[in-house]
Amino acid sequence: MAAEKNLLLEFLLRQGDNALILGHRVSEWCGHAPVLEEDIALANTALDLIGQTQMWLGYAAEVQGEGKTADDLAFLRDAWDFRNVLLTELPNGDFGQTLMRQFLFDAFQSVYLARLLGSSDETVAAIAAKASKEVAYHVERSADTVVGLGDGTEESHARMQAALDYLWPYVGEMFESDAVDTAMAESGVAPDPATLREEYDALVTRVLTDATLTIPESRFAHKGGRTGQSHTEHLGHLLTTMQWLQRAYPGNTW
């Protein structure tokens, strides 16, 4: 039973950390986006992701059973404890790169959360039901923007292609599966992400073709984030900002 609990915890941390780290990254745009509407849209997306984090990490803390909270998990762990995929921790780059990263992640979320609706774990299904409504808006907007910029000017097209070339090697990690995924699939909690690649590729190919962009041929995948084995150097820097207050004043409360 203990092993099962640890596997569920690991699964929940992966969901929560993806939402937390991407949510923080997107929030870095607040007040800096090219136009007001985009600023508001980015801030709203970040807000949804942080809200989803509270649900995932809140449940993770409950499953862990050590009296911790979602905040403890977000602010009192260090880089090696995080289980987000590398894609979510990559720097924002320009606006186009941020939206390309968002689209590649939103597309995964829209496919994955749809399956979690039928999870054998009631809380997982409830969180997925809540989050998937929000993600439907995220993917609609990020896909529209990727098409607008990809099929835009020579300059915007070149930037979007560069963003796709840079980010594509980070897509494969979302579909990596290990013992945690096998256990989740066997107990009906979550599907093995490897089985969702075809559906994802169909969605992404459709949008990127509309955007007149070329998907790189290589399937090489950077990995190590969702297992916690090796994050990029960017995560540590992100955490020093995100966790600054707890690091400077340990245990301080609002």
Partner: protein
């Protein structure tokens, strides 16, 4: 005091305005899912509109303050995630109040029916996101004014 009836509690809650859109109440919005007494404790189940909506904590404070003002002192607020909130639960009264206030009410087809200012139906979407998580930004091509649309989820 004697324990108030469930109907009485609903009536009290029905007077609490939404902190962001004060022309509609929390009950109209459909986010209060249940009221029950467990012994002497009044248990109110609330479901969030959007998972990260910053008004959520304000809403909880408002509910607690309202019930305390009516003499209840054992109060428990429960967050209920499932079933997830949908704009289908919004009352007709609330939809009319929104439109009157200048916010186009949610529509099943996913786009506003008309401009809440001039009633014109030549409208276009500016952004899927607005000043609060629950709203999108639209513009009327008849009166040329921007307006907010309460998103359908």
């Amino acid at each position: 005091m004697t324990q108030p009836s469930i109907e009485q509690v609903w009536e009290w809650l029905g007077a609490i305005p939404d902190p962001e859109i004060p022309v509609i109440t929390l009950v109209d919005l459909g986010i209060i899912r249940d009221v029950a007494f467990h012994g002497e404790t009044c248990v109110v189940s609330v479901t969030p509109t959007y998972s990260g909506c910053p008004a959520t904590s304000m809403i909880n404070v408002d509910i607690e303050t309202c019930l305390r003002d009516h003499g209840l002192n054992k109060i428990e607020l429960k967050q209920q995630l499932s079933p997830a909130w949908t704009t289908d639960w919004m009352s007709d009264k609330a939809r009319a109040a929104l439109e009157e206030y200048g916010i186009a009410p949610p529509q099943a087809k996913g786009t506003p029916a008309r401009c809440p200012r001039c009633g014109g139906d030549h409208i276009e979407k500016l952004s899927q996101f607005g000043s609060t998580p629950c709203k999108a930004q639209w513009r009327c091509k008849d009166c040329l004014e921007p307006f907010e649309y309460f998103k359908c989820i």
